[in-house]
């Protein structure tokens, strides 16, 4: 494999406050190839959004990307760039779309203005040329009568349309990487499907790599080729999408899958993972998932598991995934000595 488009190495993003240090992202490494779609999955508070924001250095104080982290992109470490250099990457080589199309657009500017601004700041396009570009982009993302719509303000549009506007805004400069942070969470299901379809189309047409951040394994199954599962600020499993669904290596991943509603499911209640994500100021010792894990055994408390390879491209951060890999379905293994 050639050099990946983006390689994140040992990313640690901590929030420093009098109450303690919140280790929201704690030594995360992964990579994305050119034109590839990678899904990052996890529940609220697992660090996936902070990871996304860290990539463009959009973390605000008291958050800080710690020394020793690296984000390699197109031959440069983004974390060593000056303010002006990183500004030129944002919205240009790496674009981002956000979870809340309702609030992610500026209420006092027309959507055309907001899309045109990208061309103006990165291309130095004239006001008129940038506006034409905005109209083109609106047409590209499937907004009907784009010329009229460009003069609309965000509040005059539906949620789905605003998300299309955000996507249009992200695509103006034809970025090499598109980070989509929960792009469909705030939308209803039919609109979700349309937006995912649009993202897939964009990727085919422009070869854009997509980092898709979501809590929804269903979304990942439809769009991503590779999946990174995050928990407690760490990567707990990484696998090609088929492998992950066929043979999940981490109890947390299994839990997520069981928590997924499926058509034809006859149970009335959804399975849930007991408990909730512990606060990032106080991750448990050893394995961070052990308090909620049905398979936890003494070693999980004593020793933090490493991300161990299972097969090609598949790794999990679990003691059960090590070497002989006993059947995960048997908690009786807890008796095994370390």
């Amino acid at each position: 494999m050639t050099d990946p488009l983006l390689r994140v190495e040992h990313l640690r993003t901590y929030f420093h406050s009098p109450a303690g240090i919140a280790r929201a992202v704690d030594d995360v490494s992964f990579s994305i190839g050119r034109g590839e779609t990678v899904g990052v999955v996890g529940e609220s508070g697992c660090g996936k959004s902070v990871t996304a924001l860290s990539l463009l250095r959009l973390i605000q104080a008291p958050g800080r990307i710690e020394a020793g982290s690296h984000i390699w992109f197109e031959g440069r470490d983004l974390l060593t760039l000056g303010a002006e250099d990183i500004r030129q990457v944002r919205g240009n080589r790496i674009a981002m779309i956000f979870q809340e199309p309702m609030t992610a657009l500026n209420p006092v500017f027309t959507v055309g203005d907001q899309i045109a601004e990208v061309a103006r700041v990165h291309d130095g396009a004239s006001r008129k040329a940038a506006w034409e570009r905005a109209v083109e982009m609106l047409a590209l993302v499937g907004i009907p009568s784009p010329r009229e719509r460009a003069s609309n303000y965000p509040h005059q549009m539906s949620g789905g349309m605003r998300q299309r506007v955000l996507i249009a805004m992200a695509l103006v400069m034809n970025p090499a990487l598109l980070i989509a942070d929960e792009p469909t969470t705030a939308l209803d299901v039919t609109i979700q499907a349309q937006i995912l379809e649009l993202l897939a189309k964009v990727q085919q047409a422009f070869g854009t790599a997509i980092l898709l951040i979501t809590h929804d394994l269903g979304v990942v199954a439809e769009t991503a080729s590779r999946v990174v599962v995050m928990y407690g600020g760490q990567v707990v499993e990484e696998a090609p999408v088929r492998t992950l669904f066929a043979d999940p290596g981490h109890p947390y991943t299994k839990g997520l899958m069981q928590a997924m509603p499926r058509v034809g499911m006859d149970r009335e209640r959804l399975t849930t993972i007991p408990g909730s994500v512990p606060p990032p100021t106080a991750w448990p010792t050893g394995c961070r998932f052990r308090d909620r894990c049905g398979f936890a055994w003494p070693r999980c408390e004593a020793e933090a598991p490493a991300l161990v390879p299972i097969s090609a491209g598949h790794a999990a951060r679990c003691h059960l995934a090590e070497v002989d890999r006993p059947p995960v379905a048997a908690p009786a293994n807890a008796a095994r000595s370390t």
Partner: protein, 323 residues
């Protein structure tokens, strides 16, 4: 839009009628009466005073006087001053432009400075510069305007002699100056009273503006702007400040009446011959028509000010526009 304006103007008329009534009742209920000031003038006998009052209808029952005054008002007649023997309209027409000059200099200067300081503070929130500016603005906002006026007067006029002590023009030289020279003369006289008011406005506005901007900066759309590669300056000035100006615009509308009302103390201290001084003098002379006239003009501007504030807010915030 037209319907909106019409409705607001109708409300305005109702407000003015109420203000005229309340002021009329209050000033007649207050102790003292017109022409009493000239009592110690030996040539001015009680009989003559009574005659003057009779001539002006002040001996009539209050209800009659009220109906008469409102009748005049309906025809746009503000009556004649009791103390100055001139139409109130003429007195206001003289005083109003002077106050407008003073207060517009103060308002625009104050708001511009306040927005700038507040925005800079918010952009560097928590820095020592922000903290120092915060102390200064809270002190200025809390100070009485007459104290600041007197302090500036003592320092810059009396001690340093950089600016004149009082008035709007040089009483002896103004007539002989070239047009440009007259302009400079007025500006020179304007400097201290306008600065006094501007500093106080700026302090209040800066505190509003800082907070408004801090409220907006964590918003998602600000992050979006950063994510698309807008410079930090553009993020703060174009994206955040534009939204954070909305509360300040409301504040501006509320401050507009001061344009006409002037500041009683500041005009008095600097002997600025404007509306504030006219009102103070009229009150002490029990010059009923002038008191009513100044009150009505100020009230009218409150009405207009709130309409202007709404229009400005609609211009700045597309969500407030109709249709």
């Amino acid at each position: 839009m037209i319907a909106f304006l019409f409705r607001r103007l109708l409300q305005g008329v109702a407000i003015l009628v109420t203000v005229a009534t309340v002021t009329f009742v209050l000033i007649h209920a207050a102790p003292g009466e017109p022409f009493a000031g000239q009592l110690d003038d030996v040539r001015f006998t009680p009989a003559q005073q009574a005659e003057l009052r009779r001539q002006r209808g002040l001996d009539q029952p209050l209800a009659t006087q009220y109906v008469r005054y409102m009748g005049r008002l309906a025809r746009g007649d503000l009556d004649v001053s009791l103390a100055q023997q001139r139409p109130v309209r003429t007195i206001l027409a003289e005083a109003l432009p002077r106050t407008l000059l003073l207060m517009s200099a103060a308002l625009f200067g104050g708001f511009a400075l306040g927005i700038l300081v507040g925005a800079l503070q918010a952009a560097r929130a928590g820095s020592w510069a922000d903290r120092v500016a915060g102390r200064i603005t809270v002190a200025l906002a809390a100070l009485p305007d007459f104290w600041l006026a007197l302090t500036l007067l003592l320092l810059f006029s009396v001690r340093l002699r950089w600016f004149p002590v009082s008035g709007m023009v040089d009483p002896t030289m103004h007539e002989y100056l070239s047009p440009l020279g007259r302009l400079r003369d007025v500006a020179w006289h304007l400097a201290l009273p306008a600065t006094t008011m501007a500093l106080i406005f700026a302090a209040v506005v800066a505190r509003y503006q800082r907070q408004a901007l801090l409220d907006v900066l964590p918003d998602d759309f600000v992050r979006s702007a950063r994510a698309k590669g807008v410079s930090e300056r553009g993020v703060v000035l174009r994206h955040a400040l534009r939204n954070a100006l909305l509360p300040t615009i409301t504040l501006f509308g509320m401050a507009l009446p001061a344009l006409v009302g002037g500041s009683l103390f500041v005009e008095f201290i600097f002997a600025w011959p404007g509306m504030g001084r006219a009102a103070v003098e009229a009150l002490s002379a029990r010059d009923y028509p002038v008191v009513l006239g100044t009150t009505l003009v100020s009230s009218a501007l409150v009405v207009v000010g709130s309409i202007v504030a709404d229009l400005l807010a609609a211009a700045a915030d597309p969500r407030l526009r109709r249709g």
